[in-house]
């Protein structure tokens, strides 16, 4: 991370515009109060990593980036709704956070168009979220996301606990991808305080993230199979996922590898334990996972439902700064693992890119990533690691920005540590980045396509709402 200078928010916004015009991707806008100053930290992903621009909010409204940059829409509206910052020129006047007035949703004036509220309680075993759907029958005319029903105040909760136990809070942001969150948060604190992590622990963390990618991608594919009424295929895919959880329970004591990672490393000799358990179990887990994936992609009735469904244009993906399999399904490179801040970076040729931009392309990205994840796990387990000694907190205060490639895509944590306590934690999850794009896939599709498109995105509500 480049050490960032403070400037006026106006100058920062202009700086962001220039960086985006030069090929950067908008990542996040984090609000922060510090020494009586109100700041917005703009984060942009460039070729060499993340760049920050810090703007001091002055009297009068802050110019909105989202006036011409859709990727900033949710970030700015959340700051507006949650912290009361006044912006000028946000095109979307409706509230992002509840309470939202249902009457404000409607955009169509045609009498044959009706507005349907779908959620927050839906059928099946799903997380709570709501969509406002304008329809004249079976088709989507316009859809508006109404989320954040599950806001639990996690960013604030971080600041109420001591640093040593804060990793457990990160695991509550998204329990389904607990390893990604625990590791990303730990990385941010380690950057902030100048802590070096031993290579063995870095390798163990990498193994946890890749195993997490495998079980979450299998989860998304199993749900797609279920949507396609492929009952046996879905059951077999869920069974393959179950084997990953059993391996994790054996190695880490938790089926979602919670309680395994700490700031500065991992608990116990995690790499040795993973090596031991994987030596006995990984072959079988891999055989089952790859064979169900082959099976799914050999079932024409399922593929017919995915091909051409929920199609996105590359322009839309770029404008919204989409990440993860959603971006890669449109041929947009976005894999954090390609940058140098991971133990084993993947090469450009190794990124799972597809071009078609439909549900089928996103499913293919997941399938390829499952296969590659097993290779990365084996590489990390077999690596001949230097016995570098870790170093412990060099300082008690600092700021850190870190990102990891979670199963849903790029996950970003910002932390400010003051005298060994967390003063501010801000999270930009992959799901938060990708949801705004979701509603754009719906017009032109019909109701029964909804779950296919939803599961081809494979996002998590808990990390969106925080």
């Amino acid at each position: 991370m480049i050490g960032a200078q403070r400037m006026t928010v106006r100058a920062a916004v202009e700086g962001v515009r220039a960086a985006l015009a030069a090929g950067g991707r908008f990542v996040a806008a984090f609000y922060e109060e510090q020494d009586d100053a109100r700041l917005i930290r703009y984060v942009i992903a460039g070729k060499t990593g993340l760049v920050e621009l810090i703007g001091i909010i002055e009297n009068g409204p802050t110019p909105a980036l989202s006036a011409d940059i859709p990727a900033a829409d949710w970030a700015e509206r959340e700051i507006r709704d949650r912290f009361g910052v006044e912006f000028s020129g946000i095109p979307e006047t409706r509230r992002l956070l509840p309470p939202c007035d249902p009457a404000s949703y409607r955009r169509s004036a045609a009498p044959e168009v009706s507005t349907v509220l779908y959620g927050p309680v839906r059928s099946g075993i799903v997380e709570s979220a709501r969509w406002v759907i304008e329809t004249a029958g079976e088709d989507f005319i316009a859809v508006y996301p109404s989320m954040f029903f599950k806001h639990r105040g996690l960013e604030h909760l971080f600041t109420t606990v001591d640093l040593g136990r804060a990793t457990y809070v990160a695991e509550h942001v998204s329990g389904a991808t607990a390893a990604s969150h625990a590791i990303c948060f730990s990385l941010a604190v380690e950057r902030a305080l100048g802590i070096r992590v031993a290579d063995a622990d870095r390798a163990a963390r990498l193994v946890l993230i890749e195993l997490e990618r495998i079980h979450q991608h299998l989860d998304a594919l199993a749900k797609l199979a279920d949507d396609g009424s492929l009952a046996v295929g879905a059951a077999q895919t869920f069974a393959a996922k179950e084997r990953v959880h059993r391996l994790l329970a054996e190695a880490t004591g938790n089926r979602f590898s919670r309680g395994a990672v700490r700031i500065g490393g991992a608990y116990g000799d995690l790499l040795a334990t993973l090596r031991d358990v994987c030596a006995r179990r990984l072959d079988e887990v891999e055989r089952e996972a790859t064979s169900v994936v082959d099976g799914l992609f050999g079932t024409q009735s399922l593929l017919d439902r995915l091909i051409g469904t929920g199609k996105l244009s590359r322009e839309l993906v770029t404008n919204y700064g989409a990440v993860g399999p959603v971006a890669r399904g449109n041929g947009v490179s976005s894999d954090v693992r390609m940058t140098a801040d991971v133990l084993f970076s993947i090469g450009e040729g190794d990124e799972a890119l597809e071009e078609d931009g439909d549900a089928f392309a996103r499913a293919r990205v997941r399938a390829n990533e499952i296969r590659r994840a097993f290779f990365i796990v084996r590489d990390a387990l077999n690596a001949d690691l230097a016995t570098a000694t870790p170093s412990y907190a060099a300082q008690r205060s600092g700021v850190g920005l870190a990102r990891v490639e979670s199963p849903q895509g790029e996950l970003v944590y910002f932390v400010r540590v003051v005298d060994g306590r967390l003063a501010r934690v801000a999270i930009r999850s992959a799901s938060f980045a990708n949801w705004p794009l979701f509603v754009h896939t719906l017009p032109g599709n019909i109701f029964t396509d909804f779950s296919f498109i939803e599961h081809s995105f494979g996002l998590i509500q808990a990390e969106t709402d925080r």
């Binding site: 639990r152 695991e171 329990g175 329970a249 099976g295």
Partner: protein, 251 residues
């Protein structure tokens, strides 16, 4: 074309016999937390001091592990192994006793009609892992259809309401509406530590609290997330087929 049937047959029977036979979680799995008998108070206090959700209480020199608050991080055992043992026992469901009557009526109705149990799920503010573990109940390893549990999309058909997550301000009303739409007798099962006790969110300003502050809860299944076997154990208790090892009070 994939031959799913042939593939399924080649795998053989994967399904556990639990709860009719015993089942076991891996040695390292963190399930039920127990205090070591006769452990020195200072060691119990040390274990209690590292618990983020205050699951270990010490009063008058005697300690008590409150499973409903435990999110199974294992910090207590790492801090004071001489005072705390985190076992791989997954039968952690808590029955609060007050709702025995509803449970009894439900059981009688099922017996007389020979019917199965219909489950409805509501996410009140979960971390997404509890949903995936409930989903896992339907995979071939657990297959709770064999126990007579089926998922229903309509609250009107539901006998059992599974609630995940700490109840947020925005979800309290939708949760109450779902419960009100269910016919009597009905049982409510809180799934996951956040739903059971509020976990680390209890002091938070953004949540209402655990499920029992909004609805009458019959059975609580702590865990972060509770394993599918733990949920089967809790469901078995909820329909009066087993008794819980642990009982209230609701704190």
């Amino acid at each position: 074309m994939s031959n799913w049937l042939g593939r399924g047959l080649r795998r053989g029977v994967l399904t556990t016999r639990y709860p009719f036979d015993e089942a076991e979680m891996p040695e390292r799995y963190r399930g039920r937390v127990r205090l070591v008998e006769g452990a020195p108070t200072h060691a119990v206090l040390r274990a209690a001091s590292v618990c983020l959700s205050n699951a270990i209480e010490v009063q008058n020199e005697s300690g008590h592990a409150r499973m409903s608050r435990c999110f199974q991080c294992g910090a207590c055992e790492r801090e004071a192994p001489e005072a705390v043992h985190v076992s791989n026992d997954f039968e952690v469901a808590i029955s609060d006793g007050e709702a025995d009557a509803a449970r009894h009526r439900l059981r009688e109705r099922m017996r007389s009609l020979g019917r199965s149990f219909m489950i409805r799920h509501v996410d009140a503010g979960s971390d997404a892992s509890c949903e995936q573990e409930i989903q896992a109940l339907f995979n071939p390893f657990y297959d709770i259809n064999r126990l007579g549990f089926f998922l229903t999309a309509a609250p009107r058909h539901a006998d059992v309401l599974l609630v995940t997550g700490v109840v947020t301000h925005a979800m309290a009303a939708p949760l109450r509406e779902t419960y009100a739409a269910m016919p009597d007798p009905r049982v409510v099962v809180a799934v996951g530590t956040a739903a059971c006790s509020g976990s680390i969110f209890l002091t938070g300003r953004d949540v209402v609290g655990p499920v029992h502050e909004v609805l009458p809860v019959d059975v609580r299944i702590p865990g972060a997330p509770p394993s599918p076997l733990s949920i089967i154990n809790g469901l078995w208790i909820a329909v009066g087929r087993a008794t819980a090892h642990l009982a209230g009070p609701r704190r």
